[in-house]
Symmetry: C2
Subunit: 256 residues, 2 copies
Amino acid sequence: MTVVRRKTAGRKAAASTAGRPAAKPAKERILDAGEQLFARNGFYGVSVRDITEAAGVDVALVSYHFGGKRELFAAVFRRRAEMLNPERLALLEEVRRSALPGVPALEDIVNAFTYPMLERSARGGAGWKSYFALVAQVNNSPEWGPVLMTEHFDPLVERFIAVLREALPGCDAREVYWGYQFLTGALTLTFAETGRIDKLSGGLCRSSDLDSVHQRLARYVAAGFRALCTAAAPAPHGARSKTRRSALRKIPRRPP
Amino acid sequence: MTVVRRKTAGRKAAASTAGRPAAKPAKERILDAGEQLFARNGFYGVSVRDITEAAGVDVALVSYHFGGKRELFAAVFRRRAEMLNPERLALLEEVRRSALPGVPALEDIVNAFTYPMLERSARGGAGWKSYFALVAQVNNSPEWGPVLMTEHFDPLVERFIAVLREALPGCDAREVYWGYQFLTGALTLTFAETGRIDKLSGGLCRSSDLDSVHQRLARYVAAGFRALCTAAAPAPHGARSKTRRSALRKIPRRPP
DNA sequence: ATCTTGATTCAACGGACGTTGAATATTTTT
DNA sequence: AAAAATATTCAACGTCCGTTGAATCAAGAT
């Protein structure tokens, strides 16, 4: 009956005068809060109420603006992919064009793939950092990976692999696909920034030091591609026994 | 009052005669079911009831045997780590010993690290496959990775890195740590088996084909290590501009 | 045979979950 | 200024959540 409407008035005042964060529209603030929280605890580890409280909006707005929690998750994932990937594609084409009539160096191709991500994760703001941590989890999730990664990244990846194959003439396509798989695994774990390398190295390396990654990943991966492609052609067995046979022994099967 | 105890009698009969799965003790069946479900949907994506229903036991047994859901998750993670890592360590030492008085090939060191996992994921049974998919998610999770990976894998990893450094004399320690980081990222994404490489390659490569990974990963990673370590010594800038400078442009900062 | 201990079942708890519909407020269009 | 469209608030819904305590069962020890 005599309840005073503190909330509404208070929110309005805070939005127009006091706090910075209330400047953005609610829909965007939900995306920001969801991005941060989903990156930390995954889809099921975050409730709609967690997100709306962090965003300072009402719970019902998630269903209103996005249709539901799952759709919000997809929208979070889509938002920055659409900002990022056109630029990565343009950079890749630029690398390719500037190497004509030859083919670009493998390092440059890999860099075109990784640099826009590493650069934004390092200096693009907290939102981008959260986003890439989220990508790391999605990429390794059997539930979300096949859906979201395929939908938003595969067109770019296909073009990237095509350019890689140009730069690796005569190399079996399978080697390139596996080489890409190893690259994306290394890249996404980097974005997870779990701090594990910090502990392992006793502080010598830091997860957050993406410049160190930028200086090393392309070289590492390019060498890996070359090693895969200079290996014996599709001869499944024989030769090169040193790397495969030397000290390996069979693992016994589990007892039934 | 007159309720008939169908459940108990039925379960007992099924356990002793009809079904295979009831042969194991309840505690182990909970671990098995949790392993499978956690691997698919993560910690928060699976309820205690999901697990106990899959295991065919009462809900209360999770709290009774493990103390709670979180402790069950940790127990699932610990169980196979304790089977696996002593063997990986023994294999590493065997590789090292059999190379004396020299140092082992990088490929053999990496293989000692990866082969026991790849072999079990390929031929160790469904439980092992689930387990490594779970490891892939944990390794990329900012919430669980630092806790569980550090606790159960770091002693092994430290020894592994020490041997790597023996095999890379004169190489800066940071290069080895980063090289390991890229390796574990590539390895764990492989275990996630999201099927993404299958779609990308049009069926040419299969996520589940861990033998293909075994044939390629050690070569790829060893070449990567060598590339990191033969690069210009800790000279942070200069030289080698081709790999770093050529076609890269600055990414503009976000508007404030 | 009785006692003891550990394993399992059952029912229930308070709370958090995602979503909804009606009511209200705000902005845009006419 | 009125009307329409959009945005936000509030309260509540039914459901599922993890955990608990008391009761029952199954064996082994005394």
